[in-house]
Symmetry: C2
């Protein structure tokens, strides 16, 4: 194990974290807020610590990392950034309790968007900007992780995407990962800026527009307003966010190909078609319900349902309405939606469409196999046969996911939440969505969850964000052998 | 397709159903009930119809059935028996609504035990006996199905058990199935009689003892009392039922081997160990909770928890206490338990332990595979390597199971149940348990469910009982080709 390089990378990440903490200071200066010393002190301190670690591990460095180093860097990276990232909130006193601050920051870096803040608007602008910035950094990390690193590691069937962009197939993580990352980040930045411009055009100020764009593209969901996006009461803003949430839930490899002119690749991708069709069906049915039963206008029904449903599926978690109040059974519908997720290779969390799609195909093909037991009938995805090993891997992932959901729900119920709230909270944190159901639902937040519950949910957010295995593998004895 | 033989078998099953309807008449005579004419008329009518069908299809019969005929017989058999079995309730007027009567009878034959009766004790003894008898017949059917037929059909990984008792591996269902069935039924009858004797010894009359033994061994759960087993208020009776529910949840192949002297085979079986360990852990934890938090005595805590937990896991559904009142979070714990089930090859329903065990092993081994991607590390069960094809089949089953659970819950929620009740009802009916949660929980029944909801749940009971694929395959176009 090349631990030295692991520490070196972590030092670099810490340096970056520290410097980015300073990014909100211009806003604090403009709005005359009181958080400038805290951000300056914590940001520079973190950066300095990171620099020292990086500097003293930089000599004679073998810049090669294998898979095991990869797992370690990813998990420790998210953990350390969340720890240091939470310090400004504690030092400033706006989130005095460390558990709360850590929960909020893990929620940020994992692009979950679950909040314990009862009064978001009371926070100074520099801290709010940092809060949204954690989303944006997390989203960057996830894009690289899910398109360039996880396929190499072969987690949960993601090797399906191995050939698409990343290229390298050897045991070592190639320098080409860097190239891929740069391209994808360029797209990510481009989308973020486009949304920012549109939101300003729709009436937001620069600060809010940036923060909401960060929250959208990272499929995070932190807003700068207590009422989330509902605050703006602007159909235009809502439509802009709907479109960009949908984009954030799409495989970024497809965006990359589209920008190179291959715009029809979107619809050549089986997962994207499934994702689009799924949204279309659920939105249409819900819209019709709102029009007929709740006497809402066609336009506002469509806007409300598509906003809420895409927000949940893309794992963003912005809210404009309380969908649980549409009808009692929407609680159940949203519980199911909380367990889906959008496309692999996007910033969205959760199981993701492609995994369900593969398993669903496998279940249906099983019917054919039962009728023709001698025939070998493979699952096909994008016109390629998928080996049963990969189906078994995907099954292993989904089962573990649902197990963690079950165990987590029981623990959260024991800490005092009712059944619906507990399941909603765990489903929403595991899929990095944010708002759960009932007591943890879209019109409330996680402040009422117990101390233990917050730690469990923080762990669950990390598990979900890092596709479970990345973290669990560190607990496996054979990981540490040799 | 040898449709003639299919119809011939169905005729025979109908003849049997009709004759067995008469079995409760002696009790009606003894208790001077008013259901004798109805039972006599419907029983003989059904038997006559069955006889006619059987008689006129018996000439030149090719007594060979392939897999496709197997699927058809099983599904139609359960359906037809449930239809005719419900008639006495309708004709007598004790369950005037056909939907209700059909629900109650499907619930009986599928050994679910979900009831729509608000006052069970108002029913005459002959009908009550028939109601419990449907359990017993269903249980008999299930034992043969799960040990002798499903492994041959290879549904959801059940071919694992192919070699254990059944023997034949060719495409045709061999006459040896009959031999296997006879042996297993002998054990089933033996256990039923043993329990009956013990229950009489514990203070029940013959009628109640028989009915409760039918309900136990079939893992059904219909009681003759409104309060279920709580009515007797007898620790002895409760312990007897606990033991036999546990037995009913065990693979009957193991009982068969044990009676041949190989008593230690129980603990050589990996699934049985998992089943026992699982029960031990959940019962111990819950017992400690009741002792500490609810100030219950050690003995009654142990009795209440083991009764309730084994009742749910074995998919019986008898009740002695309202476990949802132990603490709010027990609702969540029991929701998880509702999704488990006991051993394959038992009369219990649900996913069953072995499937979860295989998938869980596969998920954990996946960690090793990620560390050593070149190595082939198979899942092992009972010291044998399990091929990844079978893991994929098991995954297909479990995923489909959970999908049906999800979709069913949404539909039931739309028909008016709250989220917890809807999930509880679908989980309990899909696993053939009986009592769900909250409005469909152990202290209430299914009478408040809407008409549509009852039909959906009836279908769900059949789907669960026949391991999903047996029914779904009939909707597959390729089943009917050639």
């Amino acid at each position: 194990m090349n631990l030295k390089f692991v520490i070196n990378i972590l030092g670099f990440l810490l340096l970056l974290t520290g410097l980015l903490m300073l990014s909100g200071i211009p806003f604090s200066i403009y709005y005359r807020d009181d958080d400038i010393p805290v951000l300056l002190f914590t940001g520079l301190g973190t950066a300095l610590l990171g620099f020292i670690v990086w500097f003293f591990t930089r000599d004679n460095l073998v810049k090669e990392i294998g898979k095991r180093e990869g797992y370690l860097v990813v998990t420790l990276g998210w953990l350390i950034m969340s720890f240091f990232g939470s310090l400004p909130f504690v030092f400033h006193g706006s989130i005095p309790n460390f558990t709360d601050a850590f929960f909020e920051t893990v929620s940020g870096f994992t692009t979950t968007g679950a909040s314990i803040l009862n009064n978001i608007e009371a926070l100074p602008h520099g801290l709010l900007f940092w809060r949204s910035m954690t989303h944006w950094i997390g989203g960057m990390g996830i894009i690289v992780l899910s398109i360039a690193i996880l396929p190499l590691l072969g987690i949960g069937g993601m090797q399906l995407y191995q050939a698409e962009v990343a290229g390298p197939t050897k045991d070592k993580l190639h320098p080409r990962v860097q190239e891929t990352a740069k391209r994808l980040w360029a797209i990510y930045v481009l989308f973020t800026l486009s949304e920012t411009v549109l939101l300003i055009f729709g009436g937001m100020n620069l600060f809010d527009a940036l923060c909401h764009s960060f929250g959208t593209l990272a499929s995070g969901g932190f807003s700068t307003k207590n009422q989330s996006v509902a605050y703006y009461n602007s159909p235009f803003i809502e439509y802009v966010i709907i479109v960009f949430m949908f984009i954030a839930g799409t495989n970024f490899s497809l965006h990359y190909l589209a920008l190179k002119g291959k715009i029809f690749n979107y619809f050549k991708d089986s997962e994207f078609r499934f994702y689009t069709l799924f949204i279309f069906l659920v939105v249409t049915a819900s819209t019709l319900y709102l029009i007929i039963h709740n006497n809402q206008s066609v336009e506002s029904s469509f806007r409300d349902t598509s906003f809420s449903i895409i927000s949940i599926l893309s794992s963003t978690g912005f809210a404009t309405v309380n969908y649980e109040s549409w009808a009692p059974f929407f609680t159940e519908i949203f519980l199911v939606l909380l367990l889906f997720g959008a496309c692999a290779g996007s910033t969205s969390g959760g199981v993701k469409m492609v995994r369900y799609q593969l398993l669903l195909k496998n279940s249906l093909i099983e019917l054919k196999r039962l009728i023709h037991p001698q025939a070998v009938i493979p699952v096909r995805q994008n016109n390629k046969a998928v080996h049963s090993d990969i189906i078994a891997k995907v099954g292993a992932f989904v089962l573990l996911y649902l197990f963690i959901f079950g165990i987590g729900s029981v623990i959260l119920a024991i800490t005092g939440l009712n059944s619906t709230s507990a399941m909603g909270a765990v489903a929403a944190c595991l899929a990095n969505i944010g708002p759960g159901l009932d007591a943890t639902g879209p019109v409330t937040n996680y402040s009422s969850v117990s101390e233990l519950g917050k730690w469990v949910l923080s762990f669950v957010m990390l598990l979900g964000r890092l596709e479970i295995f990345t973290i669990l593998i560190l607990f496996s004895p054979s990981f540490w052998k040799k």
